[in-house]
Symmetry: C2
Subunit: 231 residues, 2 copies
Amino acid sequence: MKSILETDNEFICDIQAPCFQMLSPEEAELVRASKTQVLFRKGDNLTKQGAFASYVLFIITGLAKQYVEGDSSKNFNLRIVKPGEFVGLSAVFTKNTFNYSSVALTDCQVFLVEKDAIANVVKQNGMFGFNIIKRYCEQNANLFDTLRMVLYKQMNGRMADTLLYIDGLKSENVDIFQLLSRKDIADFAGVSTESAVKLLKSFEKDGLIELNEKDILVVNHNALQEISKRG
Amino acid sequence: MKSILETDNEFICDIQAPCFQMLSPEEAELVRASKTQVLFRKGDNLTKQGAFASYVLFIITGLAKQYVEGDSSKNFNLRIVKPGEFVGLSAVFTKNTFNYSSVALTDCQVFLVEKDAIANVVKQNGMFGFNIIKRYCEQNANLFDTLRMVLYKQMNGRMADTLLYIDGLKSENVDIFQLLSRKDIADFAGVSTESAVKLLKSFEKDGLIELNEKDILVVNHNALQEISKRG
DNA sequence: AATTAGGACAAGTTTTTTATTGATGTGAAT
DNA sequence: ATTCACATCAATAAAAAACTTGTCCTAATT
C-alpha cells in the first residue's frame, strides 16, 4: 500500500527541467539519494520565514506564493513560484534560515533536496552550478525591481506593475487570478486591501482592465506600462 | 527596528520549562547558539509530513494540532500540542523527515533547535537526555493508545475518547473547543464529519454532553468513560 | 494654507466555508 | 438474508471570510 503522499522513486529521472538534465548519472544519483518528494496541499506552507532551512524546494507541479511577513498580518508578496522553479536557494550557500514564507496556492508536488547534496553537485558540475547561480541571480534582480517599486512608485504605478506581472503568468496559467484574493493582489502592490479594490475599479473605469468576478483582463497593456513607468 | 517576528535572544534563558532549567550554562549556550525563534500564525504549518526535519520545535506559547495526512483530505488528528511540549523529537535520533504534519490553532511562539545541538547536549547531560527520552516515550505511548482506539473501538467509543481527551485540556485552555471545527473533532475520532455531528447530537440527547455553539461541556464524565471502555 | 496620497474605520454585501439533516449504499458480521 | 456500523451524497442552514464603498484622518507636498 502506498500513500498518495509518498514518492515514486523514478520521478526525478523523469524530470524534464533542464537543470536536472545536465547531471551525470552519478550526480543524479547523489541528488536522488538526498531527496524526498512531498505533496503540499493548497494552503500549506512550503517555507516559513525564520525557520531553519536545511534543504531546497523544487516545484514539480502547482503554484505557490512567496512573501515576507511583517507585523500582524502585514505581508508583502514577492512572487508566484511556478513549476520548474526553486524556493530557498539561498539556503544552499549562506543563509541557515528561510528569509521568507511561502504557501501553496494549489496542491503542489514538490521535491526537497538537502542542501549539502546540491552544494556538492554544484562543486562537481560547473554547468549545473552556473544554472543554479543564474536562477538565483534572476530572483535577486527581481527583488531589486520590487524594492524600487515600493521605494519610488506610488499606488497607481505599483498596482500597474502588479497587474502586468500577474498578467504575464496568464499564458502558462489562465486561471491565475482565480487563485488570488483582493488581499493577495494588495499585498503584491503593497497597498491596503481597500485601496486595491478602489484602484482596480478606477482602472476598470478608465478602460485599462476588465473585472469579471475574480478574473482580471488587461485590456490596455500600453497604458498600464505607461502608468507603471510614471510611477 | 526589530520585527515582531524576530527573536529576543534572552528568551531562552527565561524559559520556565523544567527541561531547559537543568542545563549547565555552557550547555544552554550550545542550545542558544543553534536556535531560532519563530512566530507561527494561526493556520501556519509547523511541520509538514515528509519534509526534511533538521530541527526540533519547542512550543513556548499557543496551541497546535498534530496530524497524519492520508489520501486527499483524509487526515487523522493525533494530538493537541501545548506550550512546553516538543514537536519532531524523532528527528533528533533517527528519522530524517517528519512523519506527521502540524498546524497552529492559535498564533504560536516556537523555538527551533537544530537537532545536532540537542543530540550533543543529550550526550553530555544525562538528566536532560532522560527527560527528552521520557517525553518521547510518553508521546509514543499515546500513539499506541490511539492505535488501539482506531483498531478496536467503534464510533461511540472513539468519540467518547476524543471528547474526554479534549475536555482534559480545558483546565489549561478553556476555549479549546472554539478552536476546533466539527471536522477537526471528526478527524480526532476517525469518523466522517457528518457522523461526528450526529454522534454529538446523540450524546447530547442522552445527557452526556451539552452543546453551546462550538463549545462542548462534558456533563456525565463517568458515562463517557463507560462508553469509551465498552468500545 | 491647501492639496494629495493613501491608510484606518465602519457598515453593508457577497461569497465561501462549515454545520446539519436525511436518504441511500456497502461491506462485514450474524 | 438480514442487521449493523458506518461512509457517502445531496440539500439546506448558519456562520465566517472576503469584498466593496463611503467617510474620515494624517503626514507629506505644493
